[in-house]
């Protein structure tokens, strides 16, 4: 779920910045952007329910309090954005009263009242939150690289399906 959604979300962010800067590819990229966004929304609901039912492992002993706080805040922020972004997208199209096409004749209903001002506000918000999401992902990925290559605490073992090589760090996840 983590890896699938990471791939989908990174794809969405790149598709998003590409489509608003493009004339020729705008239409085809938007046509992917909408259904992929709704797919992410469906998956994040499932993922959130799963997280409540199956809590993640404890922090490893070697992580200091400040780092634990940063990790907690960034995880909560990412969940918030995974919910917010597709809802803002669905909401802004609703406020503009565009038909919300997923594919072919499959449409979603509007979820907000008709208001051009609300559309304009949500449209800007969608861009701002997208950039924040990208920045958060970069911070998250930087922290992952830090733990994997510098601290070598095998923290990444929790997420990757393969065994990370090397290092004799004593504060790994099973200590």
């Amino acid at each position: 779920m983590h890896w699938t959604m990471a791939a989908m979300i990174i794809a969405m962010l790149f598709i998003g910045v590409a489509m608003v800067a493009s004339l020729a590819d705008y239409h085809s990229l938007v046509a992917i952007h909408r259904p992929l966004g709704i797919a992410i929304l469906i998956l994040v609901i499932i993922r959130y329910v799963n997280r409540k039912l199956n809590p993640p492992p404890e922090f490893i002993a070697s992580m200091p309090p400040a780092e634990r706080l940063a990790a907690t805040i960034s995880e909560k922020t990412m969940y918030a954005m995974m919910f917010a972004m597709p809802l803002i997208g669905w909401g802004m199209l609703s406020a503009a009263r565009y038909p919300i096409v997923l594919f072919g004749p499959l449409h979603l209903p509007p979820i907000l009242p008709h208001s051009p001002m609300l559309y304009a506000f949500l449209r800007k918000t969608h861009t701002i939150v997208a950039h924040l999401f990208f920045a958060t992902i970069i911070a998250h990925f930087s922290a992952v690289l830090f733990h994997t290559l510098i601290v070598r605490d095998h923290l990444i073992d929790r997420m990757v399906p393969w065994k990370v090589r090397g290092g004799d760090f004593a504060g790994g996840p099973n200590t």
Binding site: F14, A21, H27, A96, P105, P116, Y119, A120, L145
Partner: protein, 351 residues
């Protein structure tokens, strides 16, 4: 150890760089939708709240009575026999919402067909036989080249010549458009899609088409001498009088689909298709109500030509995706701006 820090730096910089490149931050000369709309705003001046092109307009409503004749070439529900509501807008090309009416200015008809199950068909069509540019870049170049020189009030001939040299298809198309017969008003104009689209039939075949709205109201030639003295909204005033005249029939147009032959260009709006191509009369549009943009539904609609029902699809005409992208940009900007009175006010409708 240093190597590992450097490696992290390179990887992160690479990802951030790829993101920035994808978003166009390293390409200041790329024509983006935002820069396109900036060009309209630079050429026409700022008019907050208004469309950046086809700024001066009036709202209309009516219905489309589909004959069912086009159902064999498109599975779109709009072509099954029956009636659907239409929310439309008549407008003049140009970015100044208070420009005086003139017979030579391109007229547009924008329509939103409200279809069952949340589908819509939106289209914007013009009273010219072909379009004057082939690509969005040429459209931007044309806006700049034909901008009036403040000293003379006319376009700079050297810039116009340079534009024609760079865009020979426009050098051919513009004289054809300027020499077209122009009708006396919105109500008896023929409006053409200019861009080609693809109809998808029930079997999944893709059929290249263009469409036109052919008026039932007879053609009467525009009289340039008469129009000069008639007031700055004379075209809109004539349209309003005609629609509100109880003794007259509502305005009607036939939606005529032209089917392209296999060799006909479907990605070049500057080239007309031969007149002997097959035509299909899909039904009759009736316009029976007119309203100012200030109170009508059309102001807050973006007539994006790629809002299409299943059964109608874009061609690879480069203008289509560009229109969708730039209209979205214009709509986003004006949606957040305070609305000023339109040139055609509710009081003018009532007169």
């Amino acid at each position: 150890m240093l190597i590992r820090w450097a490696a992290i730096g390179v990887v992160i910089a690479g990802i951030v760089g790829a993101f920035a490149y994808t978003g166009g931050w390293f390409s200041p000369h790329r024509l983006t939708p935002a820069r396109f709309i900036d060009t309209f705003e630079a050429v026409n001046g700022p008019h907050p709240g208004f469309r950046r092109n086809h700024a001066k307009g009036v709202c209309v409503t009516g219905f489309f009575e589909s004959s069912g004749n086009a159902a064999r070439i498109s599975k779109a529900v709009v072509f099954r026999p029956g009636r659907v509501r239409v929310i439309g807008r008549f407008a003049l090309a140009g970015g100044n919402p208070y420009a005086p009416d003139a017979s030579g200015i391109v007229r547009s008809m924008a329509l939103l067909f409200k279809l069952p199950d949340g589908e819509q068909w939106r289209t914007g069509i013009n009273n010219i036989p072909i379009f004057v540019v082939k690509t969005p870049e040429a459209f931007r170049d044309q806006l700049i080249a034909f901008q009036a020189d403040p000293a003379t009030g006319k376009p700079d001939p050297a810039r116009v010549q340079a534009f024609f040299a760079k865009h020979p298809e426009s050098a051919r198309a513009i004289p054809l458009v300027m020499s077209r017969p122009v009708s006396s008003g919105f109500e008896n104009s023929t409006y053409n899609s200019l861009d080609a689209f693809r109809f998808i039939d029930a079997a999944g075949n893709s059929i290249p088409v263009r469409w036109s709205m052919i008026p039932v109201q007879p053609f009467v030639a525009a009289d340039a001498a008469q129009s000069a003295s008639q007031g700055k909204n004379y075209l809109f005033d004539a349209l309003i009088r005609r629609i509100n005249q109880p003794s007259e029939q509502p305005l009607r147009w036939h939606l005529v689909i032209t089917i392209g032959d296999p060799g006909d260009p479907i990605n070049d709006a500057t080239i007309a298709w031969p007149a002997n191509r097959e035509h299909v009369d899909a039904g009759v549009l009736t316009i029976d109500h007119v309203e100012s943009e200030q109170t009508g539904a059309c102001r807050d609609i973006n007539y994006d030509p790629l809002v299409l029902p299943s059964g109608i699809a874009p061609s690879d005409d480069p203008l289509l995706s560009a229109r969708s992208a730039t209209y979205s940009q214009s709509f986003t900007r004006r949606a957040g701006e305070t609305k000023e009175p339109s040139a055609v006010t509710p009081a003018e409708i009532r007169q």
